[in-house]
């Protein structure tokens, strides 16, 4: 299948290794990967600050660039921005735009629910705890939400991790507590955000986890920054990087 890579702006510049691992994983799953260097940012920071007009400019660019294509993104919140929140910006959306939004997938969701691939022949002999980032979980439905009483169905990240050779998955007691990142919240309410991050690091350390993983590098970057500052806790690693390991 031809897939078009949507690389969130901060991944491109700060964590290219995650996007590189995404390419490896998609290729291993049999996909032909395309990438356009005309892409920049989906507009999420602006949208979450309430600046809808500024976000709309970037959303328009994004929709034109990816028009009608099957798009994969290694971030739940950026995916959700495109697939769910482009409706909020006062844009006039064409049928093609709606299709583009609809065909934008988060990586683990794409692998498991679109391609039907669960075993990526990965090997990662470590204890790993899973941080389910909020937007992927509660907006895209990528897992069991602890608040809701839906029929239990494992999320795609759990399905993929279960097949990784040597990996022991530990779920924290608070399965889906927010890490406190929250975009500009992380800076505007730095102390609150950090306190939430500390608590989440503690929870993700349960069961002697060596690594914490998830499908949103923004949350992981925040958690890892706190982990490094305090000098204890599991190291952050993006799900794509684990799946790329052999």
């Amino acid at each position: 299948m031809d897939v078009h890579l949507f690389v969130p702006c901060y991944l491109d510049q700060v964590h290219p290794e995650v996007a590189m691992a995404t390419v490896t994983v998609l290729r291993r799953a049999g996909c032909t990967v395309h990438y356009s260097d005309q892409q920049t940012c989906c507009g999420q920071p602006m949208a979450n600050t309430g600046c809808a007009d500024d976000a709309a400019v970037l959303a328009r660019r994004h929709l034109d660039l990816f028009a009608g294509k099957t798009t994969v993104c290694p971030s739940g919140s950026c995916t959700s921005m495109v697939s769910h929140h482009y409706h909020d910006l006062g844009l006039r959306l064409s049928a093609t735009d709606e299709k583009t939004m609809h065909r934008t997938f988060e990586l683990s969701d794409f692998l498991v629910n679109v391609l039907g691939v669960t075993d990526l022949k990965a090997r990662f002999p470590h204890k790993v705890s899973l941080h389910q980032s909020c937007h992927g979980l509660r907006e895209l439905g990528l897992g069991v939400m602890s608040e809701r009483r839906d029929p239990p169905k494992l999320g795609p990240a759990e399905v993929l991790l279960a097949q990784v050779e040597g990996l022991t998955l530990v779920m924290p007691e608070r399965r889906d507590e927010c890490c406190g990142f929250g975009g500009t919240f992380a800076v505007a309410e730095a102390d609150l955000s950090a306190r939430m991050g500390h608590d989440r690091c503690d929870q993700l350390s349960q069961g002697d986890a060596e690594y914490m993983t998830g499908n949103d590098q923004s949350c992981l970057m925040h958690l890892d920054g706190i982990r490094k500052r305090r000098g204890k806790g599991p190291k952050a690693i993006h799900l794509a990087e684990i799946l790329a390991c052999q």
């Binding site: 590189m20 920049t40 309430g50 608040e147 920054g225």
Partner: protein
């Protein structure tokens, strides 16, 4: 809502300064959330019950005028004296008038967020009526001269020892006494005297049943029952959004309310009152129906759903921000996610401008809400309204504008990225700059040598996509 301007950032920092208290506050509220989870697991079709409740509330919001006139007709037929209070001041005036006409100098009051919102206690006290809050948590905060920090558990921000000291000072318990049972007994003994001595009982209303004219009041302590059964005058105060069509609808909400709030199957007392008590000669029952800004919300299609709230507090308990900032940080009578959604409509966007940003938009509130208010989306839509009205700080708006401009040009974005990666090293060494909010508590990751787009150009695109043969597990 109280008149003071919420200062979330400043006030949350105050609470955060006591790290131990934060941990303990978070744990206490999470325990309520945990009990709520257990209680909802044993209800078959919990999610359907939420759908049903949301549908009833949507119907109510669409039919307020009809339901209101139906309710008033039935309430008056049942013997209630009905008063309408368009504004908070009207509520205060009506209640004070009634009390003065009846020569009341001592009143007891069961929990009512509406009267908190309107500042009723203060007004009555200033006019010579002693009002005693009879909900234990509310009594505690009343003795401390502070507002409740939570709508269901008003004194959740306090430790046992602090309550012990307070009771030592006001109720004469032994110094250092912090045994919850003995403290509760002391409060009970004191409250008994107040119940008996009061000439009037004030209450809130949880549900007002349109087709019967009855009101439903839910408490765990029975204080609304004792605070209406012993006094010759009952004044119930309700927001106009408390209307529900039938008693059968009350059944839906009673199943949801206590489970969502504390994990109990139902509140200990769910009392239906239909006018004055015919067995008590001279007993008077008055009902004050209050608008106080609600019509502004009714008129706001984007946000009117917030009026469906049944004040269960579940969205506070689950909110990771509320649990670490505490209710007082919000500076409004109703704190937490629902408070931040109501405040811009009730006290105005200018005053409430910080509150919709006091959230990570994690969405847990939306998932626990028994009447399915889309709380985190409401917060986001208030942020857009605030930005439109110019209430988002210029620095933020400016940054977003510049960002959107720069990000419209891939070359500018790449260049910016290159510059940033060069300076990254300096930032990591703790050199001050705009990244300070990040580095105050967190290390920056090492700067990569190359961006992804750089790698794609040099290596990535050439490493080759799989041939058909590789697709055997595709």
């Amino acid at each position: 809502m109280t008149a003071r301007v919420p200062q979330f950032h400043v006030d949350s920092e105050k609470f955060l300064a006591d790290q131990e208290r934060v941990g303990w506050h978070d744990g206490a509220l999470w325990h309520l959330r945990y009990k709520r989870d257990l209680a909802t697991q044993v209800v078959p079709d919990w999610e359907k019950l939420r759908d049903q409740a949301a549908a009833i509330k949507a119907h109510v919001l669409d039919h307020i005028p009809t339901l209101l006139s139906q309710f008033i007709t039935n309430a008056e037929a049942a013997g209630w004296v009905v008063h309408l209070a368009p504004e908070a001041d009207d509520l205060k005036r009506i209640v004070l008038d009634l009390l003065q006409k009846n020569g009341v100098t001592k009143a007891v009051k069961s929990k009512s967020m509406l009267t908190e919102e309107c500042g009723l206690n203060h007004h009555l006290e200033a006019n010579g009526v002693e009002v005693v809050d009879t909900d234990l948590g509310e009594r505690i905060v009343q003795l401390r001269h502070e507002p409740p920090s939570h709508i269901v558990v008003p004194a959740i921000h306090l430790k046992r020892g602090e309550i012990g000291e307070l009771f030592h000072e006001h109720l004469g318990t032994a110094k250092g006494e912090d045994d919850p049972i003995r403290l509760t007994r002391a409060a009970r003994a004191d409250l008994r005297k107040r119940f008996i001595g009061a000439q009037a009982g004030l209450t809130g209303v949880n549900f007002a049943v349109a087709d019967s004219g009855a009101i439903v009041i839910c408490t765990n302590e029975g204080n609304a029952d004792l605070g209406t059964a012993l006094q010759p005058l009952h004044i119930a105060c309700m927001g106009v959004e408390k209307l529900i069509p039938t008693a059968a609808d009350a059944g839906v909400f009673l199943r949801l309310l206590a489970r969502s709030a504390t994990g109990q199957p139902i509140t200990t007392y769910s009392t239906h009152i239909r006018g004055p008590d015919p067995t008590r000669p001279g007993h008077q029952a008055h009902l004050v129906i209050v608008d106080a800004g609600r019509r502004r919300l009714f008129a706001d299609d984007e946000h009117r759903r917030a009026l469906s709230c049944i004040r269960c507090g579940a969205c506070l308990n689950t909110c990771p921000v509320y649990r670490r900032a505490s209710g007082h940080a919000y500076g409004t009578t109703v704190p937490g996610p629902i408070g931040a959604v109501l405040a811009p409509a009730m006290i105005g966007t200018a005053k409430a401008k910080e509150l919709p940003f006091a959230s990570t938009l994690c969405g847990s509130c939306t998932n626990v809400c028994p009447v399915k208010i889309d709380l985190h989306d409401q917060l986001l839509s208030w942020r857009r309204r605030l930005a439109r009205e110019g209430h988002v700080p210029f620095s933020k708006r400016f940054a977003m504008k510049i960002g959107a401009q720069a990000l419209s040009y891939p070359w500018l974005f790449s260049l910016g990225g290159k510059i940033a990666r060069t300076f990254w090293g300096l930032a990591r060494k703790g050199i001050p700059g705009p990244h300070a909010g990040w580095t105050k508590h967190r290390d920056l990751p090492p700067a990569p040598k190359q961006s992804f787009r750089g790698w794609w150009k040099s290596d990535g695109q050439n490493q080759g996509n799989p041939t058909n043969k590789d697709q055997d597990h595709g």
